[in-house]
Symmetry: C2
DNA sequence: TTGAGTTACGAAAACGATTTCGGACGTGAA
DNA sequence: TTCACGTCCGAAATCGTTTTCGTAACTCAA
């Protein structure tokens, strides 16, 4: 425990002026040399660049931003509906992908948070205030007026998993993913398949489409009682709902859950009833989070490629930033892979 | 799929000049009014403030930063040794805490990443370049020269879980936590307690101290074969190590793991040997991540208060920023709570 | 009336970078 | 020699904000 003494080295910012001084040229020339403008001789450019390196020069972002309106900074907006914050098992990986790719390409990442108390600004105002070059939006309530304002602004915006007009989107292939997962279950001989889906959203809708598509292919029309709804990531709700399903007269042989966490909750319910997975009841998850491979049996799930979703979102927003006229605002779908764990048994 | 047409509304930044214009005063007066300087009349101040609100004015951070050297931006440096990136179950919650508190206090959070290829700068250079007001450092290799350079700089730095000279630290109470967890195990009658700890680090060392302290209190000296080491978060290593421990002549009745993930790996090994938890073998985790409460039986673990660690780190770095002379650089320890799951049985 | 002391405001410099424009100089052709 | 042209560089404006300093106007006591 010691009082701050402030005797330590100051890492002084070396400016263009410093370089100009030692090179005996003007600031303008230094700037042009470092930015590879054509009206500076090759010899000068080399001299200046080597001096700059030597002095440990890095452009002051604040000054540059003031003049050029470019900050090399990308905002990330994330407000979870599940109260899990950044620990959101899906989003944290998307964020990691974003971080990796933006860093690779020389951009930084800044959170555009929920407005603070003192100076409450909207998301867009926050972006303008911070001069971010673009924004990636995920997990928010896309009907919120503030989000609409942001998406409709001139700012380059990329959304994750939610298609909006005139705005680029990176999304997981929910239809195909759920189709393939269901097809896998059916290929194991299951015919009495229950599906507990998440709360309504574009993601949920797509997965429903995938589920029913696969079922229809086999000519199966599941009874209404087999289709249920719970919140995402709510293992307790999954537990209760599982008990309900297993109490049915004609009990399903396989239960499909909205995500891997819910699936674990379901497994607990099944075991607490004295049944076992997958011998008595089969289950599937969704997402393919790390924990799905750790529990026993490993959960059969559709593994979304969240890292790639994040990376692609970064590429997309940077493309919109750097080539505003040519960049196309479309929907990029990222494929995943079926992970065959041990939670789905065979029905003879 | 449509070509960007750029017909959308521009959210024009309203500047001090705009306000000055409509109020018929100078820019200087507007600035002073908004910053509550004393040399502007009350009437003027009100007029200017209301106009500013009306026009949706927010100060341009870039311009302000250029002049004042304050960006209201805090850097967060995080490089995981476990390759789990932001999905790191521990860190993602710390980050969430950081995010919540910094937002509350009007600061933003920017990642200070690993240097990118094109312009490779050190962490400190990155901070200087970005003009962050302070940095929070977590999970990095604290022996790295770059990290040392950063910590020793004049920049306000707060580290998480690693005490360094002349630098504020927020850490979990590892000694007490492990002591209490071990005491709990012993109180259940266990005497043959194995401890699989993580790779050496200050955190690991503290927990070892806690473990042996509790054991000594009971006069127990565990055999060397009971003390093992694996990487953190490596459930497969935990699986293998558990098999080894259970193959011992004199098998332990309880195995303590370095974290909850490893504990789950251990549970799998125990079950695969035809034994059950906690009837045949008891287990404990560490951290208290959400999944510990989802698996069955729930894992008895020491729940670190990671959200609060993050929030406290934010408070600390902001204190160092706003009161550089008076702020004290010390080590703040955040307590956790014992979570009594069902993974530890009673030995009669 | 005079002088000192407030009060309320504006002019201007500064932060560090980019960019426009113009000028000095050298080269080659007529 | 002269003129047109290209090459290389610098002066100065600019981005939006903060801050110092100067000053006009007003108050009040002597």
């Amino acid at each position: 425990m010691s009082i701050e003494t402030d005797t330590r080295e100051v890492k002084a910012m070396t400016s263009l002026k410093d370089i100009a001084q030692v090179c005996g040229v003007s600031v303008a020339t230094v700037s042009k040399a470092l930015n590879n403008h054509s009206d500076v001789s090759e010899a000068r450019r080399e001299q200046i660049k080597s001096k700059a390196r030597e002095l440990g020069y890095f452009p002051n972002q604040a000054a540059r931003a003031l003049k050029t309106r470019s900050t090399m900074d990308i905002g990330v907006l994330f407000a979870d509906a599940h109260n899990s914050g950044l620990t959101h098992p899906y989003f944290s990986q998307v964020l990691e992908g974003l971080k990796i790719r933006t860093e690779e390409r020389g951009y930084d990442l800044t959170f555009i948070g929920i407005k603070s108390k003192r100076n409450k600004m909207t998301f867009l105002e926050h972006c303008v205030y911070r001069n971010v070059d673009g924004v990636v939006v995920a997990c928010v309530d896309f009907n919120q007026p503030e989000v609409l304002e942001l998406v409709r602004s001139r700012l380059p915006v990329v959304t994750i998993d939610h298609v909006m007009d005139d705005c680029a989107t990176i999304s997981s292939n929910n239809v195909e993913g759920m189709t393939r997962l269901t097809q896998y279950v059916l290929s194991k001989g299951h015919r009495k398949v229950a599906y507990i889906h998440g709360r309504p959203s574009s993601t949920t809708n797509e997965r429903m489409v995938g589920f029913f598509r696969a079922m229809e292919e086999k000519g199966i029309d599941p009874p209404e009682a087999y289709i249920r709804e719970i919140p995402y990531l709510d293992d307790e709700a999954a537990y209760d709902m599982t008990l309900e399903l297993l109490a049915l007269e004609d009990r399903p042989t396989c239960i499909m859950y909205p995500d891997d966490y819910c699936c674990i909750g379901g497994i607990n319910a099944i075991r607490d009833m004295g049944l076992s997975v997958p011998e008595d009841v089969s289950v599937t998850g969704y997402d393919g989070v790390p924990i799905a491979r750790v529990v026993s049996p490993k959960i059969t799930t559709y593994q979304q490629n969240m890292l790639e979703i994040g990376q692609t979102a970064a590429d997309k927003v940077i493309e919109l930033i750097e080539r505003p006229r040519t960049a196309i605002k479309n929907n990029t779908v990222i494929g995943g892979t079926l992970f065959e764990g041990g939670s789905v048994g065979t029905i003879k």
